[in-house]
Structure formats: C-alpha cells, structure tokens
Symmetry: C2
Subunit: 329 residues, 2 copies
C-alpha cells in the first residue's frame, strides 16, 4: 500500500469511527487484525457479500464514483433487508487502477463519499476492508467487494424457502424503474454525467435498500418468505419458487411500474432492489410498510405436473413466465 | 453468471454443507440472500477481510491454483488467530478471467479444492461468497476476497493495543522461511511447479494459520497484545508499537530462523503468518503452545525521546530497526 492509500484509509478510519460510536455495536474497528462486533442476546448473525465489478456492474464513464460507492453498499444492505435483519457493520475491499487515488477528490475518495453517505443514513459503521491497486497496468479495472454483517432474532430470518401453497405474493415500491433509467443512460450517457446526489428519481444510480420493510416483516411476523429483486422479478421469483418447492402466478395488471418502465422492464429488469415476499392469504398486509408502498402481485401454488413453475396472467390469459437473465449492460 | 459457474457453485454448495453440518454454527449457508450464523452466549463477533490479487499476491504461472486457494483462506484465518478467536464461517468472492472455469479440473475448481481442504482442517464451513468473470478481456486478472467470521469470549479479543512497558515479546514457529522459499521460486519457478500438496516444507505456498495458539493465548490469559506476521516482523512489530504506544527491542540472536532464511528474511520477509505477541515479564509462557514452538525474541519499553520506536540488539550493539515494506513480488 502506498502513502496515498494510507492517507485515504486514515481519513476513512476517522469518518467510520464517528458512525461506530453512535451505533455502539462496534468494539474494535479499522486498525486491528479484525473487527470485533457485539450483538444482542438471542440474535443470530447474518453475513452477505457482493462484488461490484467495473464494466460488469458499473462503468467509470457512465457512473459517478459516488453512485458506484452508494450502489456497492446498497446491494449488501438489500440482502440484509431481504433476510429481515438489522445491519451491524459493513466492510469494503476495493481494488482500483493506478491513478484513481490521486488528489483530495480522487475517484477513490468520491467512491467512499457515496458509500459512507448511505452507511450514515442507516447508522452502519464501516468496520474494515482493504484498499489495493488493481493489477493489469493500463487495462486494469476497479473491483469492490462489499460485506455486510447483520443481526436478526434467533430463528426469525426471512428465508427464500418459507413460501406455502396459497400464500399471496407482494412487492415493495415499483419495478422496472432502474431498467428504464439504464435504457435512457445507454442512449445518452452525457445527460447523466451530473447525477452524483442521492434522489429517488434515479433508481438505477441510487437504489434504496428496504431495511425498514424487512425489519417490520420480521417484527410483525407478516412474511413467510422473502428475497430482494436484484436480478429481475422473473429470475428472483424463480429462486423463491425453487427454494420453497412451489409455483407462482403473477398478475400483470397488478405490477406497480416504475417511472418510464414497460411491463417487460418490470418482469425482467434488474437492479430495483425492492423486496419480493409471500404472506399467508389470510394475513392482513398493510398497503404501506415503513413508509414504502406494498402491492400484492400474485400468489404461490402447489406444483403440478404439466404446469410451468411461473405463469403470467394478462388480459385473462395465462402464459408461462420464463426467467430472463439480467445483464447489467 | 454462466452455466459453468452455476455448476461449480452447485458442487461447492454440496461440499460446503457437509462441513457446516459437522460444525453446527451455520443455520443457513449458500443459497439464500445471506448466511445465518449462530454464536454462543457471551461471545463477540470477529470479522476480517483480505484481498488475494493476481500479480500482487500470487502468479498463475508460479502458484498452483490449490496453493492460491489455500493461502487465500490462510490469510483470513491468520487474522482470526491473531485476535484469539475461533473461526465460525468463511466467505470467498472470486473473479476469474474467461476460460478459467472450463472443465472439471479447471483453475477455479482447483482453487476451491485448496481452499476447502484448509477449511475442513479447521472445521470452517464455506457459507457464501460470489463467483464472477473478471472484466478486461485477454488482460483480465484473477482476484479473490476472503471473509472470515469468528467468535471470541466477550472482552477477550487479543488486540494490537494491549502491550505494556516491560512486557516480553514472543513469536511462534520460525521467521523468514516463506521469504527464503520465494527467493528460490523466483530463481527457478519450474522446480516448484508440482507443489500442490500441503506440507510444512513449503511455508511460502502453504502457510499455516496459528488458530490453536491464538485460542490458547486467550483461554490461558497469557498474551497482552498480538498481531500476525503477514508483512514481515519489522512492519508488523511497528503496528504493535504504534497501537500500544510503546517501543520495542528485538534480540537478533533469539530470532528463530526458518529453513534457508537469513536474518534479513526473518526481520523483513513477509508471508510467514506466525503470531507475534506480548506477555507480562513475569508470566509463565510455555516453550510450545498448541504444538507450535514459541520463542521470546525481545521486549516492549516505554517510549523515550531520542530513542527509535524499534531497535535491534546484535553482537552487543543496539541499532535502529526500520520497518521495511514487504513487496509480495
């Protein structure tokens, strides 16, 4: 590690500790061999990791470093939300090409700005990680690995495997908005060059993890299963069906479309980071949870020979819904 | 993720679960949004992350994939050992260039072979992670990020900051052996091409994390501070001095040299992954802990104006010991 990387880490350590003192769960943060975290009695530990790779998940020419840092942490927090946990600490390992650590407003410093702003929003201390130079010379790419540690009441984690036949299927917020914004970005990247501030109008750049919803689903015992919609509804619903051993029917007319989104965007677009969850058909599910609108979009059914695992009901007709792999670009 | 990556992950999931069932701490492993871990009452959580980057920490032409996988996990376990914790679960995020996932004995499959062999040795389930294709075309490099979660009795973590004036300074095993082997490897890489099996004779390829020693130091309340020697004695001892606010004296004649190692290798060579720890001068420290030899090599002293932070005593003369940055290659 060079002197510049060390200076960046010193700065981050100072900023990260402010959050840690507020939180109280972090006994030892950046600067020892490992971070030491305290959780409450009766809680289990939850751990998630996610890569954010240049030219796979983001482009340096398209996305401001603040947005890359935000989304890197948002992906981890969204997994924590999907399992119903509260976030306890985050760790980020970042490899950047030579030159991206130069200056006070370097790409790297701005990446941490975006990440730490979201961390503060959810009171999650940045408790460690790594900062290294990417190998590969002029052709080197940036790569970040986010780790979020959370805690959840013992035995109460919202798993993908808990859906039962007859359960209703719900989704938070809207779907397809991120895909619609990505389409606009692809057409004219220059228009989006100044998108560096977190606003709900930029779902592709600044997705919002549904931590509050996940916690409410656990506390009020509403959900039987949950997953976050990161790869697109069709792909993530398939995971839910697979792990629960069920099939699903989605009603096209009930899908809440994001700004500019088509039905295709809502079905197959990724990066929305909304929560998809199931609840007993008789359960009272509010129209809004933790300030986020919730929509019923379909139901879970027992598997049947000759019936597809997922079906879309539209204009009174039932067709097979196939998972369509989401490519970030 | 392609079909090949999915097949590799299915295989890993099956193998990782066998370990998890034995361990009992893993409630939910690979296959949900996050892993769920249980720790014992009265324990704190410990988390460490470390990058292993191609051409920084390893070379594909020099190191067999099994050795890369082994060392990737060994680095994380060594941090867990240094803080005195027991390992609970590991997570690895791996990005590999196109082509390295092809075939049953692909580079990627062999990387996991090496990693899982070490995980089994310490009963650590692989509880999650990520597998992606490195961006960058023909020039792409492999990159792995290891996360190890551990648990330690509340308030008992061995920190870098606990050394007191008068404490004796100890090291486990031997120093410089990894640097000596790296020198031999640099001279004739072909000689080492078949080094794919874990043996103590290959400290550069297969470092052994000192988990047993770390646990004994905590249980028997022997150590006041500890760190693992990953960047070289001079660099890691400086961290211990800095965090404890002390200075240190090392006696050259007491340093246990690894096979083929010079004094320079022992002072500045990295990658040994031994534990460096301090203990009260009056404490009874056995000559061997958990089967690993332990040597007293110096002492900690109060800081004094005009005295260097670290000194080397050799042939009756005292000279300043400067931290010399270890470059992996």
């Amino acid at each position: 590690m060079g002197e510049r990387e060390r200076a960046i880490l010193r700065d981050i350590r100072a900023r990260a500790l402010r959050g840690a003192e507020r939180e109280g769960a972090l006994r030892v943060g950046i600067g020892d061999d490992a971070a030491v975290l305290a959780v409450r009695r009766g809680e289990e530990i939850v751990v998630t990791t996610d890569f954010s790779l240049e030219d796979v998940h983001f482009r340096r020419g398209w996305h401001a470093p603040e947005a890359v840092g935000h989304k890197c942490l948002a992906r981890g927090l969204s997994d924590i939300a999907a399992i119903g946990a509260r976030p306890v600490a985050a760790f980020v390992s970042l490899a950047v090409p030579r030159g991206l650590t130069q200056g006070r407003h370097s790409w790297t410093a701005r990446f941490y700005d975006g990440l730490l702003a979201l961390a503060e929003r959810w009171d999650v201390p940045l408790a460690g990680g790594d900062l290294a130079q990417s190998p590969g010379g002029a052709d080197a790419r940036a790569a970040a690995d986010i780790v979020v540690v959370g805690a959840v009441e013992r035995g109460r984690a919202l798993l993908r495997s808990g859906a039962k036949a007859g359960d209703a299927l719900y989704v938070t917020g809207t779907l397809g908005g991120a895909a619609a914004e990505l389409r606009a970005l692809t057409r004219s990247p220059a228009r989006f060059r100044s998108v560096i501030l977190v606003t709900p109008e930029h779902p592709h750049f600044f997705p919002q993890p549904r931590i509050g919803v996940g916690r409410a689903l656990v506390r009020r015992k509403i959900a039987t299963a949950a997953i976050d919609v990161s790869d697109g509804l069709s792909v993530d619903l398939e995971h839910l069906c697979e792990e629960s051993g069920m099939r699903a029917e989605v009603d096209a007319a009930l899908l809440p479309l994001g700004s500019g989104a088509t039905l295709e965007d809502a079905l197959h677009g990724g990066d929305d980071y909304e929560l998809l969850f199931t609840a007993d058909a008789g359960a009272r599910v509010p129209r809004s949870i933790a300030g986020i609108p919730v929509h019923r979009i379909g139901r879970m059914l027992r598997r049947q020979a000759g019936r597809p695992q997922m079906a879309l009901v539209k204009d009174g007709r039932r067709t097979e819904l196939k998972p369509e792999g989401w490519q970030h670009f």
